[in-house]
């Protein structure tokens, strides 16, 4: 298992860069993962990440994309409530990339 050094601490990540121990997540670590990908997280990114984390705490899984889209429309305005906008924020796909920055496991299955 690989580790990354962050703020003087060794944090375990899997081969795809997802956190192994989800409670090791911090906002700064999410930020660093994005920076390493050449992405700087804006407020809109954080709305997504925070929503994913809240949902995960309740249901032990990330929300389906439509739930996320609807929530984002509510917070950021209807013109942003679409999958295309989410892909603009997270080019590798909101489910996978945003989950990684949010410290959530990667979704499995036929997705």
């Amino acid at each position: 298992m690989a580790t990354v050094e962050f703020q003087g601490k060794q944090v375990e990540i899997d081969e795809d860069g997802y956190l192994v121990n989800l409670d090791e997540w911090t906002k700064e670590l999410g930020e660093k993962m994005a920076t390493d990908d050449g992405l700087s997280l804006t407020e809109a990114h954080w709305e997504v990440i925070n929503f994913l984390r809240d949902y995960y705490q309740k249901y032990q899984i990330a929300p389906m994309i439509k739930i996320l889209v609807k929530e984002i429309a509510k917070i950021l305005g209807p013109e942003k409530g679409n999958t295309k906008y989410l892909y603009e924020l997270f080019p590798d796909g909101p489910a996978k990339q945003a989950c990684r920055y949010a410290g959530l496991p990667k979704p499995t299955g036929c997705v």
């Binding site: 249901y59 899984i61 609807k70 499995t108 036929c110 997705v111």
Partner: protein, 522 residues
């Protein structure tokens, strides 16, 4: 690694031989032609699948948890002996191949990579070489040199792990084999042998475990399933102004509807769920989904370990009995259809309590077409006029047993549903559809992101066929009936330069075309 594929003398650990590394990939330029490539030795040797390290899950599945076990050779041969005895088909396939070469250029992974080990005959030879060496009198007596066989070495095992995870068990090669050798069975046996010595692939086994112990491939707990489905129900009611319901765990319903968990999680899969619900609503037939049987896709099929497949399938069997339904209808899912229609009876016994008047199980396409033919569904084709549609036959459905009680129903029924929903439909070239269909490139355990480089190569033949009908007819919608195909194609379309939105389910088209308020019920 030397050019010839033989290993150099320098010792390399087994872990290094099968180590996964991130490989950059890009799609080849599409020409519309599917040509047999020149042989490129070792072209895809470096494309490995990630190993599973989830020890608890591996233990639950009954495999060794600490990686390759110390006495692996002994256990390997023991397990192979067991496979050869238990599955007489595998033994037969070891013996009867005459190396005619009919299969060589039929595999999408060979066409995409040019790696000779992806020729189905060569992939199977990886097992036959061990078979001849250890399971035939001449191999035991004369050793490898005189019998074209190989000793069981770590290098050989690494080749197994590499190339048996570059087979999507789609069985296209079997269609062309004059002896009917089912190479998928050889891959399934090889994977189970590797599992038994601690070489467990991550993507599919993580899912097999979740499907068994949580109930679906995504690992959604019942509350999460309920939340997702209730969201769709509310959204449907808002969109249509109608009281469309998606019942959950409802006892006494006429129909239990089972579909991949991706259908209530991912896009474009979810659009078909809207379609299913609208069809049931308009038909006026009571139906229910189940939080217990919340998965259609049975990944237990991917290895020769019927126990896993049986446990997963039993959820559907149990739920249908417990809920007291009369029919089981399956959604757009390739592996579900193959397992439910071809294996379920022998795994868990027949569904004795279901109504024999209907197909057991029934595919959602058959269900919908039946309603259309009875005049119970009114469809407005012009709602889909922006689309020119083509249909990708999913390998597990196309080369499964049947649909709707007829031998070629699996080709005709989905097409008939599409044609009832759209004005413009065109098929891709004949050698890429129906029984000769090409796999999407990610079936049977290869859909993980770790496999993206090989997925892109394997998708090439299908993408070439898509290009043909795009150029000739302006096709802008690829209709699918499998969750893996949907996930793979919505990744491959943008990779090959086409919009992701051009990929979707058949019931996505039904959903757009359905006219409410027409004659209700049947």
């Amino acid at each position: 690694m030397a050019e010839t594929g033989k290993l150099e003398a320098k010792p390399v650990s087994f872990e290094d031989l099968i180590k996964w590394e991130k490989i950059k990939y890009e799609a080849p330029e599409l020409t519309g032609k599917i040509e047999t490539p020149c042989i490129k030795e070792n072209a895809s040797l470096s494309y490995k699948a990630q190993l599973y390290k989830g020890k608890d899950a591996i233990a639950r599945l009954g495999y060794p948890t600490e990686g390759l076990i110390p006495n692996w050779k002994e256990k390997f041969l023991e397990k192979m002996d067991e496979m050869l005895k238990k599955y007489r088909s595998v033994r037969l396939f070891m013996d009867i191949c005459v190396r005619c070469g009919a299969c060589t250029n039929k595999c999408h992974y060979y066409l995409g990579t040019g790696d000779p080990n992806n020729m189905p005959v060569a992939r199977a030879e990886l097992m036959r070489k061990i078979y001849r060496r250890y399971f035939t009198p001449q191999g035991k007596l004369l050793g490898k040199k005189l019998t074209n066989s190989e000793d069981l070495t770590e290098e050989m095992l690494a080749l197994w792990y590499t190339y048996f995870y570059q087979c999507s068990e789609c069985r296209r090669c079997s269609v062309y084999c004059p002896y009917g050798i089912d190479t998928a069975e050889i891959t399934m046996a090889a994977r189970e042998i590797m599992n038994s010595i601690g070489i467990v692939q991550k993507y599919m086994h993580e899912i097999v475990d979740k499907a068994q112990y949580i109930g679906n491939n995504l690992g959604m707990i019942p509350d999460a399933v309920r939340n997702a489905i209730e969201f769709v129900e509310t959204d449907l009611q808002e969109q249509t102004g109608l009281d469309i319901k998606i019942p959950i765990d409802q006892k006494g319903a006429e129909i239990l509807f089972v579909t991949p968990s991706a259908d209530f999680f991912a896009s474009p899969h979810i659009e078909s769920l809207y379609g299913y619900a609208k069809v049931f609503h308009q038909a006026g037939i009571s139906w229910t989904m189940s939080t217990y049987a919340s998965e259609g896709g049975n990944f237990g099929l991917f290895v020769h370990n019927y126990n896993n497949m049986k446990i997963i399938n039993k959820r559907i069997w149990d739920a249908s009995r417990e809920l007291g339904v009369k029919r089981v209808v399956g959604g757009e899912c390739g592996h579900m259809w193959r397992v439910l229609s071809s294996y379920s009876n022998t795994l868990n016994g027949p569904f004795d309590w279901l109504n024999p008047k209907y197909s057991i199980p029934q595919h959602i396409c058959e269900f919908t077409l039946d309603l259309i033919n009875k005049g119970a569904l009114k469809l407005d084709k012009s709602a889909n006029d922006e689309f020119t549609v083509t249909f990708h036959d999913s390998c597990q459905v196309a080369r499964g047993m049947e649909m709707g009680g007829t031998a070629s129903g699996q080709y005709e029924i989905p097409r008939a549903v599409i044609k009832a929903c759209v004005n413009k439909f065109v098929d891709m070239p004949e050698n890429t559809i129906k029984e000769k269909t090409f796999c999407c490139g990610a079936g049977q355990g290869l859909l993980g992101d770790d496999m993206l480089p090989i997925r892109v190569k394997g998708a090439m033949p299908r993408m070439q066929a898509v290009k043909v009908v795009k150029d000739s007819h302006g096709v802008n919608f690829l209709a699918l009936i499998c969750a893996i195909c949907k996930a793979q194609m919505s990744k491959m379309f943008p990779t090959y330069g086409y919009p992701m939105e051009e990929v979707g389910g058949i019931h996505q088209l039904v959903s757009r075309a359905i006219v409410f308020g027409a004659k209700e019920g049947i």
